[in-house]
């Protein structure tokens, strides 16, 4: 019974993540897109932990740990390097 809940919640989080994709597509600023990708990191960590419990495979917690550590590196690369210098208004990027 609780097993079914783990899978149901993992599926629910996956659907949440798919809904968040809309923000990546829509923008409007580059920060919004990066933010949505960052959200996916947290969601994937939660899904991995649920799947670890559901499948009785504790190794997946290590995968979640690595995710938790590394998701920030991409975002830091974005802030430090990839954000263009020129001013951007809210609506000029599609």
């Amino acid at each position: 019974m609780i097993q079914a809940l783990y899978f149901a919640l993992a599926l629910f989080l996956l659907l949440n993540l798919c809904a968040g994709l809309w923000r990546i597509l829509r923008g409007p600023t580059t920060a919004d897109r990066m933010l949505a990708a960052q959200l996916f990191g947290t969601t994937v960590v939660a899904m991995l932990l649920l799947l670890a419990q559901a499948s009785g495979n504790p190794v997946l917690r290590d995968v979640a740990l690595v995710f938790a550590l590394l998701a920030a590196v991409t975002a830091v690369a974005f802030v430090q390097r990839a954000w263009p210098e020129e001013k951007e208004s809210e609506h000029d990027l599609n």
Binding site: G20, T29, A31, A36, Q38, T42, T43, V45, V76, K87
Partner: protein, 98 residues
């Protein structure tokens, strides 16, 4: 189902609700700063509830500790990253919604 299982189920569902709130905030809020706030707060609390639910089922203290460590790492990383993003967005003059 035992009593622990019921407690886990409640915590997990609560966590799911917070994740849903975070996603709705990401989709519906009007500017970068409010969206940033929705995500980092709601999702990290959601992850915390899911973590608490799973800690009740953990097979050992070590496993429970690892779960807690993962949550703390995510909290720390998303707090720092959201600060960095918000600061740069302000410096670049992205308008604040009023």
């Amino acid at each position: 189902m035992t009593l622990t299982d019921y407690a886990t189920a409640c915590l997990l569902i609560l966590g799911g609700i917070f994740f849903l709130a975070g996603t709705v905030g990401l989709l519906r809020f009007p500017d970068v700063y409010t969206r940033l706030h929705a995500l980092t707060k709601a999702d990290n609390v959601g992850l915390g509830f899911i973590m608490a639910g799973l800690v009740l089922q953990a097979e050992s203290w070590l496993a429970a500790g690892k779960l807690l460590l993962i949550w703390l790492l995510v909290l720390f990383a998303s707090a720092s990253v959201s600060y960095l993003i918000a600061r740069r967005a302000l410096n670049k003059g992205i308008r604040i919604w009023m």
